[in-house]
Symmetry: C2
Subunit: 142 residues, 2 copies
C-alpha cells in the first residue's frame, strides 16, 4: 500500500491506521493530511489507531507532528481507539504523547471536537491558532 | 494484521479496507460486522475501498455477502470510494456487484443512507427487511 486513505466527513477528516507505518508511508500521510486540511477546509482530524497492537516511538512522534501540523493549519487532532496495552507501553517508554488529545473511540472524539469547536466559535477566545488563520466566511458555504 | 477495525458512528458502522483481503481476514470481517451490527443496533454499514487498487472476484463476492448478511440483520450497506479503474475492471470481469449499493465517497454514502433510512421510517413501506426485524423502541435510546 502506498498511502493511507483520508475520509472527509463534514468538517472532520478521519484516518484509520491499520498497517505498520514505515518512514515513507508516514511522510506521505503527513503531506496528504496537510493538503486535505487546506483543500477540505477541515476543522479537525481524527486518527483511529484501534488496529495497532504496538505503538513505538516512531509512530508516537508521527502522531505528535501530525497534531502540530494540523494545529498551525487551524485544525484540531484527536487520536482515538488506543488499546489499553498500547497506553501502558507508551507511558513505560516515556512517550505520553504530549500535545496530542485522545478519546476512547471515534464517537467520543467527535463529541470532544463538537464541544471544543463549538466553544471556540461561540466566545471567540478559544484557539490561539485563530490569530494565524481566522475563521473565514468560506466556512459558511458548507 | 488479524482484523479490520470497525468504527461506530451513531447508527452507522464504518469499515476502511486498506489491505489485501485473504480468506481468513474476510471471514473475520464478516463475523465481526455481523456481531457489531447486532450489538451496536446499527442501521447501516459503510465500506470504504478507496485504498484498493485492485478488486478481484474474491473481494467482489465478499462485499456481496457482507451486504446480504447486513440486510438480514436489517442494516443497509453502501460501498464507497471505488476508484474509476476498479469500476472498469469489475465490469470487464462481469462483476457488477449486484445487490450492493455504491456511492462516490463517505459523505455521499451517508447522505444516501440518511435519505433511505429516513424514508423507511417515515412511510413504513420502504424496507422488506422490516418484516424480519421491525424497528424496535430500543432505537430511541440513542
Amino acid at each position: 500500500m502506498d498511502r493511507i486513505p483520508i475520509l472527509k466527513m463534514g468538517e472532520y477528516l478521519l484516518v484509520t491506521v491499520q498497517v505498520d507505518m514505515h518512514d515513507r508511508l508516514a511522510m506521505t500521510l503527513q503531506e496528504d493530511l496537510a493538503e486535505r486540511i487546506v483543500k477540505a477546509r477541515a476543522r479537525a482530524v481524527l486518527i483511529d489507531i484501534s488496529a495497532l497492537e504496538v505503538v513505538d516511538s516512531f509512530i508516537g512522534r508521527m502522531l505528535g507532528s501530525i497534531a502540530a501540523i494540523a494545529r498551525v493549519l487551524d485544525a484540531e487532532t484527536v487520536v482515538v481507539g488506543m488499546r489499553p496495552a498500547v497506553a501502558i507501553t507508551l507511558v513505560e517508554l516515556g512517550l505520553a504523547l504530549p500535545g496530542v488529545r485522545t478519546a476512547l473511540n471515534v464517537e467520543k472524539g467527535m463529541e470532544i471536537l463538537r464541544r471544543s469547536l463549538g466553544q471556540s466559535e461561540g466566545n471567540g477566545n478559544g484557539a490561539a491558532a485563530e490569530a494565524v488563520a481566522p475563521p473565514s466566511e468560506a466556512d459558511a458555504e458548507r
